[in-house]
């Protein structure tokens, strides 16, 4: 429990401290320090969960499903903070933002980490909602940090669309509580997920079905499912690059986690009705739509960060589809995909940040010759895109392979759609990537001071996971699969 | 007792109709008196409208030479239709023989007939004011009628009958209940009443300015007994709407038998309610300003909205399963 407490309290303390610390150097290092403490605490927590199978108490719950997500969140938070320290210092020096903006940035960074960790570890559906909304609120000011008209517009769109979506999710939560009250005597326990999960079959199916629709539309807006995705490309591309990395890598995962937790409840409730797979079918529908639409939109993009945001939408669609498909194979693949996608995407965004720094622009057409100018950046970008496109031996290939196998077993025709989507996305990514990394560098393009350690670490982990998943992780994913689908895979 | 009842009923019906015609100017006089007091004047006597009517009836009728026979006939038709409509609305007692006629749709139809001839009469002479008044009146009523129908249908849905007497009986026989649908219907009906009777904020009954006339514009060419009949018809219409609001939404006190005591109670109750409503109208007219004409549709849309909300509240909140 202490590990859990430290995990949650460290970012809170960090947020308050960073709100008042003025010198930028100190703030940067303090951010890294707090993130390391958080990561260390989550590592200890994971160790404890590996030993005792789950930790629960005081409306918190860390079980096999969310423990690796918690560690992942803290890890990516740490590496991004390492990247952000010199990067934001440079940004501040170029005058894109003020010293006050930097204080807000650091404070909100830690507040954002707190809300995500809270969302992942809470057992109370209401607190989950509050945390996800809190995550939106924490990042809204950061998207508009640069105060350009585009940034303000992106932030406004983000705020309004996600706010509306989250409000609908609250309605779904209220309906869930309503269904729970008919079944669970103690009103204070009506929103506790673990209790609801045990009694899921007793929950009124019509109410839960309606609630799930609202919850899917609500939290799905934050996952970036088409057609509620309109805010995502803008918000992820207009904010500072460290923000893009954590938003793409972490927040989308947290939202999907919320959807899956609720799907588990709804599946239990609908199990004995005429349409027991309604939740799964909805997820599959939205997921497939997002996957295909995002893959097509990839081709039209002119801004590099927007392109990778669409790639995020595509992968989240794939994961949603996998969770909707159900069954141990697809679920295991989806859980693995959450992990590797997060690592790869954040690495890509960090590299993109450096690339844009080198080229002085985010427009794809004007970024050229990265490998010539700074091989570390160029090769990282190439490997990152290869990883995200699903090349073996990277981990994304493993999860996508598992998903395709599962789809073949259940719905063979959908495999065609998935494969074509994958091919379209691959084509789009490489079409844009190729001229950026290869070819001659433009006049006067100089390499920049870039710490590529976070990127190498992430890509290395993804490679390792593609080649050999460590047994404790496989065990967790398997237990999570069993929790979600009721069936073990391994 | 039955003989008495059978004899008393038509007598009571005729009595009620007479009372309508007789009491209408009194209501208008009361409203003018309260308004004057609010404006710090002494105001004319409450009986002044009677004197005005008597004066007009005695005067000579002058008809424009461009007028058609419709122009002469219209005042009688309008008065007759309005009086007949009014006579059906239960004023004193509920179970009158005319109750069979007291269907809401009949009421709306009779009022529409009266309005139709009024508008035709306004256009008949060919003056600009008359045509303008007629078109404005039609605009207002085109928007007000759906609102009124919607409001009364809300009542009808609860009472399972479009007969006004049936609605009142339903209200009196059930225990008191707070009905959101009735509240909204009342709001809608009040707004419609203001529009249909030509009171502020839709139309100023005392004005003769070109920009602001609606009802007055159509009457501009009339004189003598024709004008008297038209004015009286307008006053009866006001009493009709007042009685509709007072007796249908707050029916307590209305006579359900024809015993003298009950009838007396009925008269007292309705008089009290009408006095209150008249005072409220006078206060409203003093406090509000007349709207510009192009805002009248918004006003009536509000009335329609209220009536719609009443209907929706009935279906969603009151009916249950």
């Amino acid at each position: 429990m202490t590990a859990l407490l430290i995990t949650l309290l460290a970012p809170v303390f960090g947020a308050f401290a960073l709100a008042v610390v003025r010198p930028l150097r100190v703030a940067g290092w303090l951010n890294v320090a707090v993130s390391s403490v958080t990561f260390a605490a989550t590592a200890v927590l994971a160790w404890a969960v590996a030993a005792t199978d789950e930790i629960a108490g005081f409306s918190f719950r860390v079980d096999a499903f969310n423990v690796y997500l918690v560690v992942l969140t803290a890890f990516v938070g740490l590496t991004t903070s390492i990247f952000s320290r010199p990067y934001m210092r440079h940004v501040c020096e170029t005058g894109m933002t003020t010293e006050r903006g930097m204080r807000i940035y650091h404070a909100m960074y830690q507040a954002f980490m707190f809300t995500m960790l809270l969302a992942l570890t809470t057992d109370n559906l209401g607190v989950l909602w509050v945390a996800v909304e809190g995550a939106t609120l924490a990042t809204v000011l950061l998207v508009s940090l640069y105060r350009t008209p585009e940034a303000v517009e992106a932030a406004w769109k983000y705020f309004v669309l996600c706010g509306v979506g989250i409000a609908l999710a609250l309605f779904g939560t209220v309906l869930t509580y309503f269904a729970a009250q008919q079944v669970i005597a103690d009103p204070a326990e009506g929103l506790t997920w673990s209790i609801l999960f045990q009694q899921a079959s007793a929950l009124e199916p019509s109410v839960m079905g309606l609630a799930f629709v609202f919850l899917l539309v609500g939290y799905g807006t934050k996952v970036g499912l088409v057609p509620m995705h309109q805010w995502l490309p803008d918000a992820h591309s207009e904010g500072p690059t460290p923000m893009s990395a954590v938003l793409s890598g972490l927040l989308l995962n947290v939202a999907l986690y919320a959807v899956v937790r609720l799907k588990m409840l709804v599946d239990g409730s609908l199990a004995t009705t005429a349409s027991p797979h309604m939740a799964g079918q909805l997820l599959m529908g939205f997921g497939l739509l997002s996957f295909l639409v995002a893959g097509l939109f990839l081709h039209r993009q002119r801004d590099i960060k927007r392109m990778f945001s669409y790639s995020s939408i595509e992968h989240m669609g794939l994961m949603t589809f996998a969770f909707g498909l159900g069954g141990p194979l697809a679920t295991f693949g989806a859980l693995l995909h959450m992990l590797v996608h997060s690592l790869t995407k954040s690495a890509i965004f960090i590299t993109v940040g450096h690339a844009a720094h080198i080229a002085g622009t985010q427009t794809i057409d004007r970024i050229r010759g990265l490998i010539r100018t700074q091989p570390a950046v160029g090769w990282s970008l190439l490997l990152g895109v290869a990883a995200i496109a699903g090349f073996p031996p990277f981990g994304v290939f493993t999860s996508e392979f598992l998903l395709l196998t599962a789809t073949m077993q259940v719905q063979p025709w959908l495999t065609v759609a998935l494969l074509s989507g994958l091919v379209i996305a691959f084509a789009g990514l490489f079409r844009h990537l190729h001229p950026m990394v290869y070819g001659p560098a433009p006049e006067g393009q100089l390499p920049v001071a870039a710490n590529m350690l976070p990127v190498l670490l992430h890509l290395g982990l993804v490679l390792w996971l593609g080649l050999a998943i460590p047994s404790f992780l496989a065990g967790w994913l398997d237990r999570a699969t069993q929790l979600i689908t009721g069936v073990h895979l391994l | 007792m039955d003989h008495l009842l059978n004899a008393a009923a038509p007598v009571a019906a005729v009595l009620q109709a007479m009372l309508y015609a007789a009491a209408a100017p009194l209501l208008v006089g009361w409203i003018r008196k309260v308004k004057a007091r609010l404006q710090n004047r002494r105001g004319p006597s409450v009986l002044q409208p009677y004197r005005d009517l008597r004066k007009l009836l005695a005067k000579e009728v002058r008809v424009a030479h461009t007028a058609s026979p419709l122009f002469r006939a219209a005042p009688y038709i309008v008065f007759a239709a309005t009086w007949l409509a009014a006579a059906t609305v239960p004023l004193l007692a509920v179970n009158l023989p005319t109750a069979a006629l007291a269907d809401i749709i009949v009421l709306v139809g009779l009022l529409a007939l009266a309005r139709f001839f009024l508008a035709l009469a306004g256009m008949d002479v060919g003056t600009a004011f008359g045509g303008m008044g007629a078109s404005r009146e039609m605009l207002v009523s085109a928007l007000a009628e759906p609102a009124m129908l919607m409001a009364v249908f809300t009542l009808a849905m609860t009472a399972h009958s479009t007969n006004l007497a049936g609605v009142i009986d339903f209200q009196l026989s059930n225990e008191f209940a707070l009905r959101p649908s009735f509240m909204f219907a009342l709001g809608g009906l009040v707004l419609v009443a203001l529009a249909e009777t030509g009171r502020i904020p839709v139309d100023n009954p005392a004005t003769h300015l070109e920009l602001t006339m609606i009802h007055e514009a159509m009457l501009l060419e009339y004189s003598g007994r024709h004008l008297a009949l038209m004015e009286w018809a307008a006053q009866i219409k006001l009493l009709l709407y007042g009685t509709l609001i007072a007796n249908v939404f707050f029916p307590w006190g209305i006579a359900q038998s024809f015993a003298a005591g009950a009838l007396g109670m009925g008269i007292a109750a309705v008089a009290a309610k009408l006095l209150l409503l008249g005072a409220a109208l006078a206060i409203g007219e003093t406090v509000l300003a007349k709207m510009r004409l192009f805002r009248a549709p918004a006003f009536l849309n509000l009335a329609l909205l209220l009536a719609l909300l009443g209907l929706l509240s009935h279906v969603i909140l009151e009916v249950g399963a």
């Binding site: 440079h90 170029t94 894109m96 109370n124 209401g126 607190v127 909602w129 509050v130 809190g134 609120l137 000011l141 508009s144 640069y146 105060r147 008209p149 303000v152 517009e153 932030a155 406004w156 769109k157 705020f159 309004v160 509306v164 409000a167 609908l168 209220v174 309906l175 509580y177 309503f178 009250q181 009103p187 009506g190 009124e204 309606l210 803008d234 207009e238 927007r306 940040g353 844009a356 002085g360 985010q362 427009t363 010539r372 700074q374 560098a441 100089l446 390499p447 | 059930n174 209940a177 707070l178 009905r179 909204f184 849309n301 909300l309 509240s313 969603i316 909140l317 009151e318 249950g320 399963a321």
Partner: protein, 253 residues
């Protein structure tokens, strides 16, 4: 179950819920911003009254606190903050009328009917009373959403958002006799922070496009040819950072 068989308190509850729906319509088409804020304050007050009546009927202690919280937050604090913002933004006399008010109102009525239909499957007899108010609250949420769609002024959109939250709170109170206190506090806190952030945003938007007409925020589309370059754009702002040069940058081809 017919209306007359319900206890008086529950009938009063239905009246209050109907009035909340009415204020929602008023909010939707109110042209003057200041009047719209007043309508929103009334809506908050009515929702607080509903909470109070439910608290009296069920005599659950924490609902009194919720009622007070809603009253203070939704009927007093947030309208006051909006008033203050409007004064600072000099929008006090701003009038923005809907382009097609009849259609907007009609769609709102359709939304009410739609939410009733949506909630209809929750059929059980003992749920009928609460189901109806849930229908009304869903209608308020959807009308708030619709208001955000049709209104172009940023403050009006925020009012729509806040009215959505009112509808959600009404749903929570009427369907479930209040969510656990910790959740309600969290939600209230989130709403307050959202309001503060909205306030900050109004100034940012106005600084950037010189008006609060959100339709003018249209630079980010899929078909823009010239995307503005963010972090490293515009030569005047970019100092050339000369770092240690590694091996040759350019090679003649």
């Amino acid at each position: 179950m017919s209306l007359v068989s319900l206890p008086l308190l529950q009938q009063f509850l239905l009246v209050l819920a109907a009035l909340v729906l009415f204020t929602s319509f008023v909010l939707l088409s109110q042209a003057r911003l200041v009047s719209a804020i007043h309508a929103f304050a009334w809506q908050g007050g009515l929702v607080a009254a509903v909470t109070g009546v439910v608290a009296v009927a069920g005599s659950s202690g924490h609902l009194y606190f919720s009622a007070l919280l809603t009253l203070v937050l939704k009927a007093a604090l947030i309208p006051w903050m909006l008033h203050r913002l409007i004064r600072r933004l000099e929008l006090e006399r701003h009038v923005e009328s809907l382009r097609w008010p009849a259609i907007v109102n009609m769609v709102a009525v359709i939304l009410v009917i739609f939410s009733y239909w949506l909630v209809l499957p929750m059929v059980q007899q003992e749920l009928a009373f609460t189901r109806n108010i849930v229908a009304i609250s869903l209608a308020v949420v959807l009308i708030g959403l619709w208001m955000m769609v049709v209104r172009q002024q940023a403050v009006a959109q925020v009012l729509g958002f806040m009215s959505m939250e009112n509808g959600l709170f009404l749903a929570a109170v009427s369907a479930t006799a209040g969510m656990p206190l910790v959740v309600e506090l969290g939600v209230a806190f989130d709403v307050l922070v959202a309001m503060v952030l909205f306030g900050v945003f109004f100034f940012q938007i106005r600084q950037s496009i010189d008006s609060l007409d959100v339709d003018r925020l249209n630079r980010l589309t899929e078909t823009v040819d010239e995307e503005a370059d963010l972090e490293f754009s515009a030569a005047p702002r970019r100092p050339h950072t000369v770092t240690a040069r590694p091996a040759a940058v350019e090679e003649a081809e």
